[in-house]
């Protein structure tokens, strides 16, 4: 007799059949794919036994591409067409990328995201990343399915926790382009926490310090009884091992007295610098030798102590966000039970030392810092695919790293969803029209923690049209932000009295440099004082504009209520206000607003009387009619 098989949502209809799912760490320097086999997470090796795939793509004249080791092998010979560290360009415009002048590529500045001209055509960073992901997918399918058949149901792809909406969206797009079903975008430190927490049956508060090739994340998590709860996250989306290479490279260029290097020589010296950096993690001295295309020879010795000195401030740049995350989590240093080190760059002893000093305990290094993220992603993919029996899953509660808001009058940001909100999260805020009879409202969605729009990242602009004409302040526009479990935002706006609606899935526009992103949270303190002034000025300017608008509109309607003398007095005060509003003194503007207020008081009273009279008259007409 056949039994009906009833399955809960999220569970496989065929519980005995293992659904093939993978975790992918799409790294700045290396990428990996892992899966859970017989209950154990393993990194999948390529046919040569490599577990790391260098995140390098070389485009060929034939139109094809080489990915990984073959591409890396040609890097020094063909630097212009061999793209490394493409993750730095994800969701970024040309102006946003630090040290872009050192990149040998033929960039095309496209709206939204830069592109790169290659012999195989103009490629976006999303396409380049998709090449890496396609290679990993092929590797996974070969290893998992081979001759056995079946299909890959999906992948969990990791992103730096501090990635903003544009970078997350770009990553998801790349995965889709590579033909992967994205089960979830997962924050890298959270993935590491899963791998560490499950392996060690950890309970309590843990800090995950993740210094990768191009990004830095710090996440504070509470682990308890199968729940991974991110309490706060912070970081720097443009700080990583690459920057340490670059410091050493600059030192080499200076010591060797080099100038105007060819792209080939730059590429060689950067590679030599990286090798020296890695060597210095275990040795007190490294030798850097290279023969340049000019025939010149570089032969230098660099001491570990010198390298630490030249990169000390890079290490320090990771500590400020770390303290900030602790503060946001409402924790003291001694409440942190352990610090898990993730990312190849945490192999540097002076990084270990600085982190140990800050947390007053030795960091935990018992997992391979290159693999832990992919392993955690694989474990999560296994759960999301429905391979674990119901009740035996764990729960992951993650947060958004940066506040989301909307531009209001005067270029100020109204924060709608604060940073470190647990996702999914939705928030609504009401806005109103600024002018009489205003028919449309344009909404500018931004991400960041500063007060001024110009200091935040612009994510999207859209327009709500068809608002019925009303007096200024009459319309009620409710703007709703919804952030999903991938950390991706969608925004909708609705005018309450008419029901006019508009919505967008946020597709990034741009306008912020990486430097700005880098600085955003840190600066929100450093510039707090500037912000206060700027904010006060903008507020007064907005107030002044509102006052001018209202008074002029009243004058147009009811000028007959004023004597010529009174009218001229009001106009004179308005003229002064207009002049002051152009300037930078918020106090002077405020004083003048008060003067206009006083000067227009009798006018306002008379207008009020008139409108009451009119309203009464209207009612009497009505009552006559009925």
């Amino acid at each position: 007799m056949a039994l009906l098989q009833i399955s809960e949502p999220g569970e496989s209809t065929a519980p005995h059949q293992h659904r093939l799912a993978v975790g992918i760490d799409l790294g700045t320097t290396n990428s990996l794919v892992a899966t859970v086999r017989n209950g154990i997470a393993v990194v999948l090796n390529d046919h040569e036994g490599h577990s790391l795939l260098p995140s390098v793509v070389r485009y060929l004249r034939s139109g094809g591409a080489q990915v990984g080791y073959p591409a890396q092998a040609e890097q020094a010979r063909d630097p212009r067409n061999t793209i490394v560290s493409v993750k730095r360009f994800m969701g970024r415009g040309l102006k946003d990328v630090a040290y872009i002048e050192n990149c040998p590529y033929d960039f095309v500045d496209a709206p939204g995201m830069l592109k790169i001209r290659t012999p195989a055509g103009v490629k976006s960073p999303v396409e380049v990343s998709a090449e890496i992901l396609k290679t990993l997918r092929a590797l996974a399918e070969q290893a998992l399915i081979g001759n056995a058949g079946g299909e890959l149901v999906g992948a969990v792809v990791t992103v730096p926790a501090y990635f903003d909406d544009a970078q997350r969206q770009a990553t998801k797009d790349a995965a889709r382009l590579a033909g992967l079903n994205v089960l979830r975008l997962l924050n890298e430190p959270t993935a590491a926490a899963i791998a560490y927490g499950l392996d060690n049956a950890a309970e309590g508060v843990y800090a995950i310090y993740d210094l990768g090739g191009g990004t830095f994340d710090i996440s504070i998590l509470r682990l308890s009884r199968g729940v991974f709860e991110v309490m706060a996250t912070n970081g720097d989306a443009a700080l990583g091992g690459d920057d340490f290479d670059h410091r050493l490279y600059c030192w080499v260029v200076e010591k060797a007295g080099l100038s105007l290097l060819s792209p080939e020589d730059t590429s060689v010296l950067l590679t030599k610098s990286r090798e020296a950096k890695e060597f210095l993690s275990a040795h007190v001295e490294a030798r850097i030798t290279a023969t340049l295309s000019t025939g010149g020879v570089v032969d230098l010795k660099v001491r570990q102590a010198d390298f630490w000195d030249m990169t000390r401030n890079l290490v320090a740049k990771t500590l400020a966000p770390t303290r900030k995350a602790l503060r946001d989590a409402g924790l003291a240093i001694d409440e942190v039970k352990g610090v898990v080190m993730v990312g190849g760059a945490t192999r540097m002893p002076h990084v270990q030392q600085a982190v140990g000093e800050l947390f007053r305990q030795a960091p935990l290094n018992n997992l391979d810092p290159d693999k832990v993220v992919a392993l955690g992603a694989a474990m999560q993919a296994n759960v999301l695919a429905g391979n674990r029996p119901s009740g035996d899953e764990w729960l992951l509660l993650d947060v958004i790293p940066l506040s989301l808001g909307i531009e209001t009058m005067g270029g100020l940001v109204e924060k709608i969803v604060p940073r470190n909100s647990t996702i999914p999260v939705a928030r609504a805020q009401e806005f109103t029209t600024f002018k009489d009879g205003q028919r449309a409202m344009s909404l500018h969605v931004v991400q960041g923690d500063r007060d001024l729009v110009t200091d935040c990242r612009s994510l999207a602009r859209f327009e709500l049209r068809g608002i019925p004409p009303m007096a200024a302040g009459g319309a009620r526009i409710r703007v709703t932000f919804q952030v999903d479990a991938d950390g991706l935002l969608s925004v909708s706006a609705r005018e309450a009295t008419s029901g006019v609606e508009s919505s967008v899935t946020v597709k990034p526009s741009y306008g912020l440099t990486d430097d700005q992103i880098t600085q955003m949270l840190k600066d929100s303190y450093e510039h707090a004082r500037d912000d206060v002034h700027a904010r006060a000025l903008r507020e007064q300017q907005v107030e002044a504009e509102r006052m001018i608008e209202a008074t002029e509109s009243a004058l147009r309607e009811d000028a007959d209520l004023l004597s010529e003398e009174e009218r001229q007095a009001v106009c004179a005060e308005i003229a002064t206000l207009k002049q002051l509003a152009e300037g930078g003194d918020h106090r002077a503007i405020k004083l003048q607003i008060d003067r206009v207020n006083r000067a227009t008081e009798p006018f306002a009273t008379r207008r009020m009387d008139r409108s009451v009279t009119r309203a009464l008259a209207g009612r009497s007409v009505e009552s006559i009619g009925s």
Binding site: R184, A385, I423, V425, A426, Y525
Partner: protein, 177 residues
């Protein structure tokens, strides 16, 4: 799916509608709810189910954040009882309270100018004690005396103190970097 989106946040978690709250019970209820409604449980489900899961998970987060924070919890309770704490409009505070605010700010400013981390720490624990005292007060006002206007004033005071706390945090951070 076990609940409706319109449900009161206390009912949602099966908690008594009071200011005094068993934090462990709240945490447990929240986690149980997320374990059943979170989008991670519905990755392979149909679009409608995924949407409902996101809505319910979103509401659980909103409810949890509201009840977890004593100031937001108090304000929520007052709104439920039809009392608007008038955060936006009613800024008239007793003079002695305002003087106290000035003193807090001056103390923070002095300590930051003197780069006195120990004093900032001391201020921080003093503020913590003050907050604790006021949470107890508001608990009495809402749960026992049902003195809602009084509770609304305490909520407004707490919002002032919350700002003091933010300034204190910023001052400490400035000293660290």
């Amino acid at each position: 799916m076990p609940h409706h989106l319109t449900q009161n946040f206390f009912q949602l978690f099966g908690l008594p509608e009071r200011f005094q709250l068993d934090r462990e019970q709240l945490d447990r209820a929240y986690r149980q709810m997320q374990a059943s409604v979170h989008p991670d449980r519905f990755v392979n489900a149909g679009e409608t189910e995924r949407r409902v899961s996101m809505q319910q998970s979103t509401q659980a987060n909103e409810a949890y954040q509201t009840l977890k924070n004593p100031i937001r919890r108090a304000a929520y309770l007052l709104l439920q009882r039809g009392v608007d704490p008038q955060f936006e409009t009613n800024t008239a505070m007793p003079t002695d309270f305002l003087v106290q605010q000035m003193e807090w700010r001056e103390a923070i400013e002095e300590a930051s100018e003197a780069a006195d981390a120990i004093e900032l720490d001391r201020l921080s624990s003093r503020l913590g004690a003050e907050l604790k005292r006021m949470y107890a007060q508001i608990g009495g006002q809402i749960d026992d005396q049902e003195n809602f206007p009084g509770a609304a004033e305490t909520v407004r005071k707490l919002m002032f103190l919350e700002k003091v706390g933010e300034e204190l945090g910023e001052a400490m951070e400035a000293l660290e970097s």
